[in-house]
Symmetry: C2
Subunit: 792 residues, 2 copies
């Protein structure tokens, strides 16, 4: 089995199963490779830091979700193996790891649960997942139904990945009195100062069962044996082995044996999640399974209900019914859900980027405006007295600016007026401008009005002699870290965006009675637009910027990165583009950036490094910022089209952002249409095979802008200090649409109809025609019937 060769050159093994991890290593001056008898290998070389060329299928444990992340056999998952005790046949639900094609299969992504229904050989497995509202845990139901006309003997084995918890300390066992598998780990730390943090971590992973299992397995390796995850050796035995995992990879597998008469069913419930200690698991067991509330519900059922209520509270403020049923579905159900997620969780970050934080809360203005209000004040309390906004907003006393938030970006001030505008439109709460807020670097307090003025003046100050805004190491959306790191290069987009921000702020100030401020920034906006037209207009579109070496880029002479969407959208918004320029740039975008999956961020995608631009050019062509259909940017283009009345084009592009209803489109995107991802793969003209694929990431600033496009643009039901503006931009082929609009406590049932008999829009409120396009004097608590007649 194991021997040394005669010449002492080798030690030999003659079976890979008796010593499955047997390995050897080779090294040379610059590398080492550790090779396993079964073919596995770890190779590392120095350049000078350790590097790899053959990679494991995932990234480090602590990053956030990655775009288009790959799955692989041992990817974490929640599965149930089902064994027919008579035939020995095995399958798994939902599909992995056995991958047996089911007779019937449904995966249903819902608003407050996700469930599956899988039928195989007349056994139906229904699995559902819900969360409680506050606690960190998964609530699982597994129901087994015998659809056949005979009695069936089955074993079912819930298999929940625990995985490689820690190289420092990991173990697992079944704890009888908790009816739980409990796996323990300790978060690695080096510095003693970190101990006080990690000591309170929820480092245990438990699978708590409502029903007592027949047997269990907590050791990944013992479970799989030579069969592997698709046919685990442990499932060949009558019962699982029990035992423990001692510094071995833990897993949570339970076995239930059941005999089901024809038509009978049995349900199992589980709680899976992290805990600090066994006492906590005991409390969870008591609460979720053992005790009942006054309605006779246990905590599990009550938590499911509470969570449904929680999600339901996140409804938006329009419900629509249009000729486009798919749009109705998305706008009525999924968009507000995704917007609510952003507003409630701030993307589960302790230091959200300032622009994200402001835009996520702009979205919250449509759902729970009091949360948005508080967030705007929090953000401004972290402003510097110079007017500069930080790169991230600290939301937790222990939080620090991390990752990208340590790299200075120059755009954060832009978002203050832009996002505040929506809050004011919805609430008319101009009193926020009088709130007094402190600064990050001063004891001093100032009103929000003054904070905003400071932010705007900071933008004026951070400009070169021509009046173009410095880009520094980045602005927004295109991480161009080398355009202006020497402090000379400028951003075309940021300059134009500044003009837009000035205009928006001037509007706000004017409405709030600060005519002088309004005048000042209106003039600044005009001047900035003039500067943009002088230095950035390339003949058919606006350039993206000018580098430290005074090279204008994002222009017609560039082979890659010839045109960027953001300067075009914002030039429509800021008023920089006159009618002629508008037409030219819209045509250029159509020709170069529009694709079957939406508007791309830039084109052609960079296929190699452009050193005077920087990081975006290192991204994969068509991915993320390098030529993707970056929905956040695309949403701004749609918004800008509505602003200039390009309603047909705007609607067409809006619909491209929402995959479906045809299956081919959904399949090409690779994503069920329950959220808008941060991007679809672009570079359509260069790499059509992969174009349109979803990033599968649901964190994105896109959502509130799409919602705003729908409210302010498509249906034109935008708030105003004096009431509700009515300026619909329905597409040509819609004859009618109805919208229930929740607005400042009132409910407006708005019916829009195209009518050959009208020449111009007519608005009727409770049957009475009103003058103009503003519904005024709207009373909270009242319901209004609004009829909008539109010319054909």
């Amino acid at each position: 089995m194991i021997k040394v060769t005669e010449d002492n050159q080798y030690v030999e093994l003659t079976s890979p199963t008796i010593l499955p991890k047997a390995s050897g290593f080779l090294w040379n001056e610059k590398m080492m490779i550790h090779v396993n008898c079964r073919g596995y290998a770890v190779a590392q070389f120095m350049q000078p830091e350790p590097a790899k060329y053959s990679y494991a299928p995932n990234l480090e444990a602590k990053t956030f979700m990655q775009p288009e992340q790959p799955y692989y056999a041992h990817h974490p998952g929640r599965f149930v193996y089902i064994k027919d005790e008579e035939s020995g046949e095995l399958f798994s639900a939902p599909y992995e790891p056995v991958r047996k094609q089911a007779d019937e299969y449904t995966f249903a992504v819902g608003k407050n649960d996700i469930h599956w229904r899988v039928v195989q050989d007349d056994i139906c497995i229904e699995m559902s997942l819900r969360l409680p509202k506050e606690e960190v845990m998964e609530l699982w139901r597994v129901r087994v139904t015998n659809l056949s006309s005979r009695k069936r003997k089955l074993s079912i084995y819930p298999y929940f990945t625990v995985g490689y918890m820690s190289w420092m300390n990991q173990s697992g066992s079944y704890v009888e009195n908790l009816q739980s598998i409990v796996c323990s780990a300790i978060t690695p730390y080096q510095k003693y100062q970190d101990y006080s943090k990690i000591k309170n971590y929820k480092d245990k992973t438990y699978l708590l069962a409502e029903h007592k299992p027949v047997s269990w397995e907590v050791n990944q390796e013992s479970f799989e044996g030579e069969g592997g995850l698709h046919a685990p050796s442990a499932l060949q035995a009558d019962t699982l082995r029990g035992g423990d995992a001692l510094y071995e990879t833990p897993v949570a597998v339970l076995q239930y044996r059941l005999e089901l008469d024809a038509g009978a069913e049995q349900e199992y419930r589980f709680v899976f999640g992290p805990a600090h200690d066994e006492e906590e698991i005991e409390r969870i067991r008591q609460h979720y399974f053992l005790k009942k509330n006054e309605n006779g519900q246990d905590g599990f059922t009550a938590a499911e209900q509470e969570y449904a209520d929680y999600v339901a509270a996140g409804q938006g403020n329009i419900q629509i019914e249009t000729p486009d049923g798919w749009l109705d579905n998305i706008v009525n159900h999924w968009l507000p859900r995704q917007m609510y997620y952003h507003g409630k969780t701030n993307r589960l970050s302790t230091d959200p980027q300032t622009r994200n934080y402001l835009q996520d809360n702009m979205g919250m203005s449509y759902i729970q405006p009091q949360i948005a209000r508080a967030a705007f004040l929090t953000a401004m309390s972290q402003q510097q007295i110079s007017g500069a906004m930080p790169d991230g907003i600290i939301l937790h006393p222990d939080a620090e600016l991390k990752y990208i938030n340590q790299i200075p970006h120059t755009d954060h001030c832009i978002w203050l007026p832009v996002c505040l505008k929506t809050y004011l439109d919805e609430t008319n709460d101009y009193s926020i401008l009088e709130e007094r807020v402190s600064f990050a670097d001063s004891e001093q307090q100032a009103s929000v009005l003054e904070h905003m003025n400071l932010a705007m003046r900071w933008l004026i100050h951070e400009r070169d002699g021509r009046g173009l805004n410095y880009i520094n190491q980045g602005d927004w959306c295109d991480p161009m870290n080398m355009v202006g790191y020497k402090g000379i290069g400028v951003s075309g987009w940021l300059t134009i965006a500044t003009a837009y921000a000035f205009n928006v702020w001037a509007d706000i100030a004017e409405q709030a009675g600060h005519a002088e401020v309004a005048g000042e920034f209106r003039q600044e906006a005009t001047q900035t637009n003039a500067v943009a037209n002088e230095y950035l207009w390339d003949g058919n579109w606006y350039a993206r910027g000018i580098t430290d070496d005074n090279v204008v880029f994002g222009v017609s002479t560039d082979v890659e990165g010839r045109i960027y969407i953001n300067p075009q959208s914002w030039a429509l918004m800021s008023g920089a583009a006159d009618q002629e320029k508008r037409e030219k740039l819209i045509r250029a975008v159509e020709e170069q950036l529009e694709s079957p999956y939406g508007v791309e961020k830039l084109a052609p995608s960079f296929t190699s490094m452009r050193e005077d631009v920087g990081r975006v050019t290192q991204k994969h062509p068509g991915s993320a910022e390098n030529g993707a259909v970056y929905n956040h940017a695309a949403a701004f283009y749609i918004y800008s089209l509505y602003l200039v009345g390009e309603k047909e084009r705007a609607y067409r592009l809006l619909r491209k952002m929402i995959p479906g209803p045809n299956a081919e489109d959904i399949i090409q995107r690779g994503q069920l249409p329950v959220f808008i991802p941060n991007y679809y793969r672009g570079a359509y003209r260069q790499f059509p095979r992969t174009a349109g694929r979803s990033s599968n990431l649901f964190n994105t600033g896109t959502i509130p802008w799409v919602y705003r496009c729908v409210i302010d643009g498509l249906f034109g039901l935008q708030g105003h200090p004096r009431g509700l503006l009515v300026r619909p931009q329905l597409p040509e082929d819609w004859n009618k649409a109805s919208v229930t609009r929740l607005f400042r406590g009132a409910e407006l049932h708005v019916n829009m109809e195209k009518d050959a008999s009208v020449e111009a829009m007519e608005v009727y409120v409770d049957g009475q025609r009103i003058d103009g396009d503003m519904i005024t004097d709207i009373q909270a608590g009242t319901t209004y019937d609004v009829l909008v007649k539109l010319p054909l």
Copy 2:
């Protein structure tokens, strides 16, 4: 296939194969979970930083190898699929991923190659891996032999993992003119300052083939299809698909189709590794496959030979032949190989820990002492003028102290005399003491003698009022970061080790003619030993230390961590322990720390946190520093036993460190005996099931100490300024042993025999009996026959 439910609550999918990545997400106030239609899930919660409770099977991409690391289906590997084109039967070599039991199987770990021989259905696959000496690449041969008596039609498919290279930019394609699969990636970076580093990285991974393949596949997902890695869908087709990977996980698979007559064979060769660009791959192709040298060898064959020569140059300076053939095998072949690896590569680190760097080079004193000499000078040039040694030695201009090297440890000065001693014993090069070396924090230069004095005086200075050495945030081998972080707690081991270091330094100084220095430190040693006996002797053994709160620990009243090996070993070495204490502590070690797999580091292993000790108590019981058979520490105990003449016990424990020759032992360790790992799992008395398992990590300071035990202890052939001391400590049941000892350029053939006719050892050189136990006047270039007669 995809539909929205009537109530608009769900979007449903009715087949997991048409949209295999379809997913949904749920979130609540503190967590989110992203669930895939097939059961995969990514869940994350905040505490307050993002954390997991269901983990992927590996750690982040850039850590070094982890102990006892788990393998899993998609672990990186190098495999060959073999398909019988007539029967359609599939198997894989070496074993994964198909896992078909072979008819014959051999995995052979050699000194300069690793190879397999796998026979299945009369097809023999031989795979071998070698490295070149300097370049970062793998040299693979795959030979297919038809062992049957009929013609066979086969396809073979080398499958080399490329994997998830980067979330920023990854792709792969087959490059016709390079006859290579070339996969490209860009190392992610955020700060523009990092670009200048990453731009020169070897970020491409290539598989270069000598023979043109019939077809290829570079897309992991297309290759596997629904079949999975154990039965890839792509192998069902006649040829592979070709195509590319565009921001999709790349893989390198080639197909060769061959018809082999009975007995015929065909060999394929491949180069696999990282490259900067295609030009580099072209150069490699030219050099390794296309051009031939003056001997008619291509670069591939020449590199294999050069590498064999390179490894062969790392021979040690003893070759032994004893009644213990297994020991002979390990000492003659594998120990020097592992020692050479350490000395040549410094563990592939740019900032090796100071103690590791010094000990690895202590080992190099036996192989290439000029490398050791330079390393000692490098280390001392990074000493501070205060005498303090840094935590890590910077070996590259761009290197920084990382990870553990940023945490202050107090033991580094200890290793200077301890390691230098071996260099001096081997070379007699006392001139090194006169070398002038600068400091890290001063322009000043000083002789090595002065550097050493400063280091010793730093140890005297860093003590409390009792004369016990502060531990600060750690000393050695037991990362006890909370014993003394307040600056009060002291280390028992370090205090005792200081006494030993003083004695060693006094010996060296005395030999070099510095009697005053010798006297000074001899006296310091005596005093330190007295202090140790006063404060640390617990009645039967020495305590490990005294905490900031003045709690003595590692003592009989402790329930866990009652006894630590290091203070005991070093008390034998330093002379602190008199005869009575020696006997007591050796008995205590036997009773509490010895196990079938060697001496444990401490016992009982900690099963929960002891906050006044710190991190070691958080390690898994029996793992790494928490009660493992930590071979480095165990080697010191063996060394100390030889120093006090406990030869039987020393030999017994030495043999426990070398698994084998019986297969059961090797299998329990889980490791082929080609290297000594840094630890075997301990906690034998608490968790016997897992005790003895190898960490599988081959980086360890153990090796030079085992070698030193063999040379200075077992065979007693230690260098001395005046020649070679002969003081063997052969175990009772050996009647003879022979050793070829290379020593200062001479070759001594030493035969040791037990002889009933002698009362005391007699030494004969070239037939002439010498007085005493010192062979003097040894001439380089000369061969000596030495006979050592030992009493029974």
